[in-house]
Symmetry: C2
Subunit: 146 residues, 2 copies
């Protein structure tokens, strides 16, 4: 198995038990990967990082979904066909994605919290706005030199 961090593992175990989820190797593997990698990862990338001894890809799909349902992961939309995830425990932020190389940077937008109310006000058929997805696209300094 990969070099998992015991401290993280303990924390994740309690967190999982606090929800209605069992602390299984499949879930701990996912959470451990994210604890060491602060960027959105697709299922395929998770599979690669977990290695051949890691959970089956079907298990990764199922756990990404259950962890998201319980609020431990958030689904991130990077404009790719396959969706990515990251740890929900991180503070609210958005992403800036390089259209050439795919590099992802975190960005914090000060106005972000107020956007939901603004959206609700603008849509008369809606009763509530619970969240948003805000992703930026552009070019990183490396790729713009072309």
């Amino acid at each position: 198995m990969k070099e998992t961090c015991l401290v993280h593992t303990k924390v994740f175990q309690s967190a999982l038990r606090g929800k209605k989820l069992k602390a299984t190797p499949g879930r701990l593997a996912i959470l451990d990967i994210f604890a060491h990698c602060n960027k959105p990862l697709s299922i395929k990338e998770l599979k690669k990082m977990a290695g051949s001894a890691g959970p089956d890809i079907a298990t990764l799909y199922r756990n990404a979904e259950s962890l998201t349902a319980e609020g431990m992961l958030v689904k991130v939309n990077l404009g790719e066909k396959n969706s990515a995830y990251e740890l929900a425990s991180r503070k609210h932020h958005h992403h800036l994605i390089c259209k050439t190389c795919g590099q992802v940077a975190d960005v914090t937008i000060s106005a972000s919290p107020g956007l939901n109310q603004q959206a609700l006000k603008a849509a008369k058929d809606f009763a509530a706005v619970s969240g948003h997805s805000l992703e930026f696209f552009g070019f990183c300094k490396k790729c713009v030199k072309k």
Copy 2:
């Protein structure tokens, strides 16, 4: 064939010729559908609306891509596995999607234009921000009554 609008068709034909795209039935079918339906549509939905006499699904994929590359369509991310498109000629706006029934409402965010600069300032490795995707999630009035 569906009741296409001659006026629209003329406009789209010129628009296509203005780009480097031929005004083919496949492309006109897509543009005509969007001219009558102001909401994001997936390829599957386009196929259904085009009907059995409409373009093959492979053609829809190829044309959605070429029209997007030429700036006549924009790809919209509604949090679904399959991506959707809408006419680029419409003024800049965002979407609010009901998490229960999938209904989509357009919303305009006043601060929206300034967000790109804010993102660029926050990401030191990036040289330019060319656009963003901002989608809201919530519950429509019909679905919240449960």
